[in-house]
Amino acid sequence: MEKPYRLMGQASTDFWNPLRRALGTLPALKTREEGSISQPSKIIIHLRKQKYNADYDLSAKEGADTLAFVSLLEEKLLPALIYTLWIDSKNYVDVTRCWYAENISFPLNFLLPNRMHCQQLEKLRLMRGDPVLEPGEQLEKELCRDAFECMTLLSQRLGSQKFFFGDSPSSLDAYVFAHLAPLLKIKLPNGKLQQHLNSLNNLQQYCTNILALYFPSDARETPGRKIHAQPDSSDLDNEPHKRRNQILSVLFAVGAMLGYAILTGIVTIKRERPQLKNSGHDDGDEEDED
């Protein structure tokens, strides 16, 4: 969803805010005039009001084509994407759930990914009109078939052009890139959609091109690699107080255990009084006796 904003030279990201994720209000755009806007179509309308319009140069027919191809993406490619990222068991467990859990703070990291998984399954069921839809090879094949056809059609429409409508990007390019880029960049164990995308050279080139032009810093990283990386200094950069928190929590745990042990008598401390005090006491005793 950053894409149109980046295209127009601005950017804002608030991706990992867990409360917003929990309430289902991401992507969200905070504006001074109108507060927070959370649906992509409303965000685009707001941008157009601010005179940022990537479709300004399009002809009427090209505008119509944009609507049509966006519908094609939503009907044919989006269900397969949802399945690949959220429903397919290997991908969900190995990649998506880990990725979200690592980046959301306690305690929502236990609750949110599963909740989102159930929501996505429900959404897929409603989109397909089948209330008892179960994930499985059958469903995967049908969704992949539709998605392969959609990607092939996009490839045929793109041809050898740089963008869908000539040399400058439009909102259709933003939509297509937003749907295809995750496939290109996330390393998934079960990657049938990725394989098909890689076989369509012009689409692959198109995505890499847009990534290099508008997301140069992200072009080098991939979330898949981050998940498998060993904890290193980049982790410490992300959380500067991590070491301090670790030491404090260990000290707290040790202190709590010791205190409990002493109070319940599991551990007793025998104190030996120093000599001076002993002789003082003896004198006192002697005096008392006297």
């Binding site: 119509a64 049509a68 409603l126 059609l153 996009l154």
Partner: protein
């Protein structure tokens, strides 16, 4: 249908010629059928006429339950049953009839995209207006949908269907829209179709394709169906080339049939096109 079953059906379909007793099933025309189902059914009938394949239209109260995918219309050809326009087009292609063979790759991509546009925007808007607008649902949709059934089944089925459609609207993000926004979406969709059609007789110049059949099915039904208000029809009427497109197809493919006969007449609630 599973993929293996589909492949098997295609092979069998290719072997047999089109029979004379092919039947198309839809809900009862006068009392039961709703706008969205009527539009889908008319689209399939138009497509079959464009291919020159005869079919009898049979109206049954339980058509929705007989359908393999739960959606109407469906056709019964030989010993195969296929529902919805997309699979029917594939099925008929396997029999050797196709309207889109003459298109090149780019045109085929555009055709599929525009068909998805109609499904995504027009059909969803029709479903929204029928089931998520309280007034229309109470006055028209629920009474019509449940008319063949007696109490209490009629209430149960009608509310169940309404709840199912509302959940779907929620899942695809349409539940937050107001009725005016939905009409605006319909207008946008019609504008896109009108711009794509331009001054040509059909969407891909001289020959009709399944896209023409689908667009005709929806637009004609919207224009000839009496709802609680005329706003939906007015949105379509404001595009004159779409109106003349509908007239042209009605004239070419439906006029030779007797208007009173059930199989030929495409219109349902109101009279003919304005």
């Amino acid at each position: 249908m599973s993929l293996a079953a589909e492949a098997f059906v295609s092979q069998i379909a290719a072997a047999e010629p089109w029979p004379e007793k092919a039947t198309l099933y839809q809900p009862l025309k006068e009392d039961q059928i709703l706008l969205s189902d009527s539009a889908s059914s008319l689209a399939v009938q138009t497509f079959l006429r464009m291919c020159g394949l005869p079919v009898q239209v049979s109206c049954c109260a339980n058509a929705e339950y007989m359908s393999p995918s739960g959606k109407v219309p469906f056709i019964h050809v030989g010993n195969q049953v296929v529902s919805e326009l997309g699979p029917i087009v594939q099925f008929i292609k396997a029999k050797g009839h196709s309207l889109s063979d003459g298109l090149d790759d780019v045109q085929r991509a555009e055709m599929k995209a525009y068909m998805e546009l109609v499904n995504n925007m027009l059909l969803t808007a029709e479903l929204y207006i029928q089931w998520c607008d309280d007034y229309t649902a109470t006055e028209i949709s629920r009474p019509r949908y449940s008319s063949p059934y007696s109490w209490p089944l009629n209430h149960i089925l009608a509310y169940q269907k309404q709840w199912e459609v509302q959940r779907k609207m929620n899942a695809i993000g349409w539940s937050g829209k107001s009725l005016e926004q939905v009409y605006e979406d319909v207008s946008q969709c019609c504008q896109a179709l009108s711009q794509r059609l331009g001054t040509q007789p059909y969407f891909f110049n001289k020959q009709p394709t399944e896209l023409d059949a689908l667009v005709f099915g929806h637009l004609f039904t919207i224009l000839t169906t009496q709802l609680t208000n005329d706003e939906l029809a007015e949105k379509v009427k404001s595009y004159t080339n779409l109106l003349s497109f509908c007239h042209r197809i009605e004239h070419t493919y439906f006029k030779e049939h007797d208007r009173e006969s059930q199989s030929g007449s495409p219109h349902h609630y109101k009279g003919s096109l304005p």
